[in-house]
Symmetry: C2
Subunit: 330 residues, 2 copies
DNA sequence: AGTCGATTCTATAACGTTGTATATTCTGCG
DNA sequence: CGCAGAATATACAACGTTATAGAATCGACT
């Protein structure tokens, strides 16, 4: 920067002012500086800038594991949105482990970032509250929904309600739910099951616990879940997989056993992963608005960082969902 | 740090020396400093350290898109390995776009990192060579294999050769290849096809171009690829999907059409993604040693950064592969 | 012409650490 | 006991930027 100042015949601070779009600079001066910068190929030193300004223009993202497709996709979109706002995203994997979550919350990671997008899975609210530090945090997901924290999440219950209503409207009466236990009421499985129950009751029906099958939230979980249901002889005319890979695994198992989808059994999922569109038959599902979640959470966090958002912490945002009716449950 | 120095009754530099494991410190002094640090809850300012030392202890990772499962998984492992060595990973998505790749190579991103793990897909070697800057770069993948650059990659040809040899040993004679054009010779499709051809020739057979079907490297690509093959009436007794999702898509289509896997048609893939193990039937594939790729590339990059690795740039490492024989092609 | 306020620019001091050079304290040995 | 040399600790400067406060310039109005 010294060299630039000398080349342009101005002071160090004037160069800095040009770089920071300071208001009162004569156009001629500004041009001289810009020319010198171009001439010398100067690039500002971000580390020094951070040291002096106290800002890194990086956002922290804490999630369990990038190798889980949903998180990979979420991280990808968050990074894209953040980039468009002039921020970078630094990712920290917690492995859904409380110890790691806590160290991401307190440790050096925090120093490197101006704010945190935090998707806790293990830590309880009080621990988070006691260790939140002074920089802004925006929560993602279902695990922590507390009035003290900003939160961006999806309409789990409403979306599940909508998809069940769609199945009911299609004449399905016995809908198997894969991926929850009948008693769940919290986190993704519980909230989605609640929505499902509500749609049933709105139609004057009752949730049959025998049709609620817990399974791993993965493809083989859906396959074995629907398999055991078939083996046990319980009748059903639709399957609601609480996420898409469960639904796809179930659909695969149905097709392999010669059961027609959707004629014999309709299948619906949740998430609208890319693959849902290309499955055979294409999967009816609900898109939870990941794009909007990315947009809103980044926006909110940056507003907090830059002091734009004046409202007290505790803003809760729910992204809109969209029903995607496809061939597996028309 | 000033406060710590005062509390411990030593100089600023002594505290710094304790933090940096300087050799000549009396145990008693060291303990006093550590006590003061614990007492005050002091944490070193990483930004200031970076400014002074010129190192950020961050590694850059440039890849096309984290939402692609392979890259999500790779990033996840790289981050884990890097963390165990005291480094963080800062990811930049290029979208497989040359403009973005170039800006990641030259831009401010480079400043924030001590070295680069670079998986170029669009940029040509000369452009990379002309813009490599002064910090170490380790290439990942198949796109750039140039003696000027360090490279960590997988044994594409050898692994494909092994899997084809396995299919041949199982008595399969007409192996359809999904995911390449008959003329491909470079990058992943070409290298894997080369290995396939070599195994055929070693068995005294020839590659039949009619059995080489180009398709998208995705699930529906594999499904439609094998579908068009079936529709055209071309006979085959095995399918080699050039990656696992192609193979899984093909297997799905075969099963839906009532074709038995593996009795009528054996199916093999490439990558050993998590899902391969849980598919029905489980997928025979080849594990390209992603764990080893992560280990070796991080190790090599850090060695270059810290000046341990003395050999001139241009080290090429190929991770070992492992054949995973499962039910789809026993 | 002189004054005032707005505009434009600059000198200097930080931000919190580590490198260099140097001062001080030990230790062992003649 | 004194001295060399190792061991230990320190002072000071520097990394490259931005914040603060103040200086210089300018235009408009008395």
């Amino acid at each position: 920067m010294n060299d630039v100042a000398r080349a342009a015949g101005v002071s160090l601070k004037t160069v800095s002012n040009v770089l920071n779009d300071y208001e009162f600079i004569r156009p001629a001066t500004k041009q001289k500086v810009l020319d010198a910068i171009a001439e010398l190929g100067y690039e500002a030193n971000l580390t020094a800038r951070s040291l002096r300004s106290g800002k890194t223009r990086m956002l922290g993202l804490v999630l369990s594991d990038l190798s889980i497709p949903y998180y990979g996709e979420l991280a990808s979109r968050l990074m894209t949105v953040a980039a468009s706002r002039g921020y970078r995203v630094l990712v920290e994997q917690s492995g859904a482990d409380g110890v790691h979550e806590l160290s991401a919350l307190q440790g050096p990671f925090r120093q490197l970032t101006d704010g945190l997008l935090f998707n806790p899975l293990a830590l309880d609210v009080e621990t988070v509250a006691a260790n939140q530090g002074s920089k802004p945090i925006v929560m993602l997901g279902e695990h922590i929904a507390d009035p003290r924290f900003d939160l961006v999440t999806m309409k789990n219950a409403e979306a599940a309600e909508a998809i069940t209503a769609h199945l009911l409207a299609g004449g399905r009466r016995r809908i198997a739910v894969l991926g929850a236990s009948a008693g769940d009421t919290t986190d993704s499985p519980g909230l989605r099951l609640n929505g499902h129950r509500k749609a049933l009751e709105a139609a004057g029906a009752q949730l049959d616990p025998a049709l609620v099958v817990p399974c791993d939230w993965r493809r083989d979980g859906g396959a074995s879940g629907v398999g055991s249901l078939l083996d046990s002889g319980i009748r059903f005319d639709a399957v609601f997989g609480l996420n898409d890979v469960i639904a796809l695994g179930a659909m695969h198992e149905l097709l392999v056993r010669g059961i027609n989808v959707p004629d014999d059994v309709a299948v619906a999922g949740f998430d609208n992963i890319d693959e849902a569109r290309f499955a055979a038959p294409s999967l009816t599902t609900v898109s939870p608005g990941m794009e909007e979640i990315a947009e809103r959470s980044i926006q909110l966090l940056i507003d907090r960082i830059e002091g734009v958002e004046a409202s007290p912490a505790g803003l809760h945002v729910e992204a809109g969902f969209e029903l995607k009716v496809r061939d597996s449950a028309p």
